[in-house]
Symmetry: C2
Subunit: 410 residues, 2 copies
Amino acid sequence: MKAEIIAVGTEILLGDILNTNAQYLALQLAELGIDVHYQSVVGDNPQRLKDTIFHAFSRASLIITTGGLGPTEDDLTKETGAEYFDEELVLDERALKRIENYFNKVGRKMTENNRKQAFVPKNSTVLYNDNGTAPGIIIEKNNKILVMLPGPPKETVPMFEQQVKPYLAKKQEYTFVSRVLRIAGVGESSMETIVKDLIDSQTNPSIAPYAKDAESILRITAKAKDKQQAEQMIEPVAQEIYRRFGNDIYAEGETNMQTTVAKLLIDKQKTIATAESCTGGAIASALVEYAGISSTFIDGCVTYSNASKQNRLGVKSETLQKYGAVSPQTAIEMAEGAAKTANANIGLSTTGVAGPDGGTEQKPVGLVYIGLTIDGVTTVKECHFVGNREKIRVRAVYTALDYLRRELLK
Amino acid sequence: MKAEIIAVGTEILLGDILNTNAQYLALQLAELGIDVHYQSVVGDNPQRLKDTIFHAFSRASLIITTGGLGPTEDDLTKETGAEYFDEELVLDERALKRIENYFNKVGRKMTENNRKQAFVPKNSTVLYNDNGTAPGIIIEKNNKILVMLPGPPKETVPMFEQQVKPYLAKKQEYTFVSRVLRIAGVGESSMETIVKDLIDSQTNPSIAPYAKDAESILRITAKAKDKQQAEQMIEPVAQEIYRRFGNDIYAEGETNMQTTVAKLLIDKQKTIATAESCTGGAIASALVEYAGISSTFIDGCVTYSNASKQNRLGVKSETLQKYGAVSPQTAIEMAEGAAKTANANIGLSTTGVAGPDGGTEQKPVGLVYIGLTIDGVTTVKECHFVGNREKIRVRAVYTALDYLRRELLK
């Protein structure tokens, strides 16, 4: 089954709203093994909306729309859908009742145009809305399926999850299962070179490379009769990729570096303190994203000034004078000082030139030192990052956490 | 001029990436007064990509694509664009040089397929990329314009801003000028109610309300022959809005709360130290985003554990025992302790329940106390935020900075 996702709404065309529904639905359809070849966005314009729906049905058998089911005159998705299937709109008493109840509940007055939302195409399945006033609709006729969902994500998502997903799952002969391997410290093109032979020789499972922020990703996808069979097909491919990348693969699935490191710290029962200069607290903040971190994260110091490095961490003034704040020596003393003053197993530090100013020939913008002490053993890593201030800081955070991860795995 | 935005990338169709470029470009084109009737997304498939570009040119004269300029075999946007305009691809020596330099600088090995990125359509304008390896391209021929931009927003946005926007602006008969007023502490619907009469009565300049994360935004847009005339038309409308919102308007234009607060601190010559619990360093990290912050930001403590609150900030153990870590008393001692131990004018603290666990009936998830001391005068603010852990933390950071801003303006 081929599908298309169409978002209806001038506010998306004008950039006032980010189309998060498209991503949500894309992920859901991928999981169901339904191919999506196109997504589109069209405004609240009757002719263009009609053209878009008709054009989409010329190349796909399933269309999911979001938006345009509201009470205003602009909202025309339902009317256009009904026209495509040559069905008239009729009043759905149950939908009307629910809309009336909704207005009672929120204590707002129901206006006449809200009644418009209770009209549905004849011979359609009504998807009652627990989180708003617009019912969704499924029309299935002549091997074409049109699913119309409301626009606000808090209505779209539960309606799809509870009512549309089970409906579509029943129609699928095959299951698609994916495994996502997340790779740190290897650029996208190097990663692709390493697995090019596998990518070229595989069709099922298929292997797809892509890059996101500082990391590279490989997704292995298998098509099979059931989940178990798909997983069995993926396993040897994943093993071969693990053989080639080893520890560069830091995690699988929908996760990130900070979550991996937080879990590893908890697992190894190592307490940590951070001492950040150029990253300004972003490493601490990343670790604290993880809800269970309190058992291992003691504290963090954002020692931006030299005075603070001395005061909070005991960095020696001679060190700062002789080598400068951005130096391996300072990074080491910061890491050791963090661990010591917080009484933690681990101290992790950053000091660098995030730019745009402050760079010199010896210490250019992008130079960052990462200091790390684990149970008394201290090491330091020199990095050169490219990009603007934000990019350099993001990469410094990612690399510091990855460095800690690799050392913990040794 | 009618335009379409096309995102190229299977990773968007699969839902792995949110298409934020489309929103950014939609906003930019709206500001330029260029109508966008459709947006679409197509995968890395030669035939479908070709169909999409050809179809879009059948109804629009400007197409902006993002993505598909990478080094891999999948990346085919440039080839398809060249085919539409019947131009061959030729090596651009300057682009090649820049790619080589990029790899030298980051210390990674350039692979053969990176050379592919230096090939550009003949008779095109090359947009050199300061933030990545793929150059962008503009082809203009037979009253059609194709602008091809790289996919990563960190590359797309500066390339559009610096190179494409001025190019497109020259082609427009009218100038559209916008002023964006950023409003803190007022919800979107309250804001709309306050200015509804203005919105309804204005067409040029128009007033558009929208919401983004924790803030509300009003955009005033005027259409005029030149920039000066447009600005004059906007001025009285802006004045009226200032009259209604006062200090709730924290800044204008493309900026954010942390930049406003950083500038205010520098302007008032007040040094600051932060003490964060639930926000985990995110306030410090937000302030450090601002490059000039070093003159005012002394340091930050991420005192996640009770021991750390006592050790780093001198919070009394009786206070923690009697009132708990999440209490106005602890927030006050954290703020005062931060200012005192860092020898700063200002101490700003947060302590709260970010969830998902740890909430009680008295202290539910979302309860956050913000402590603030300025030159010896200490106050505390109690907040109740709704949402998941991430949302609560984001709102706590924003509200703490806004609280500091308002107190500094008193």
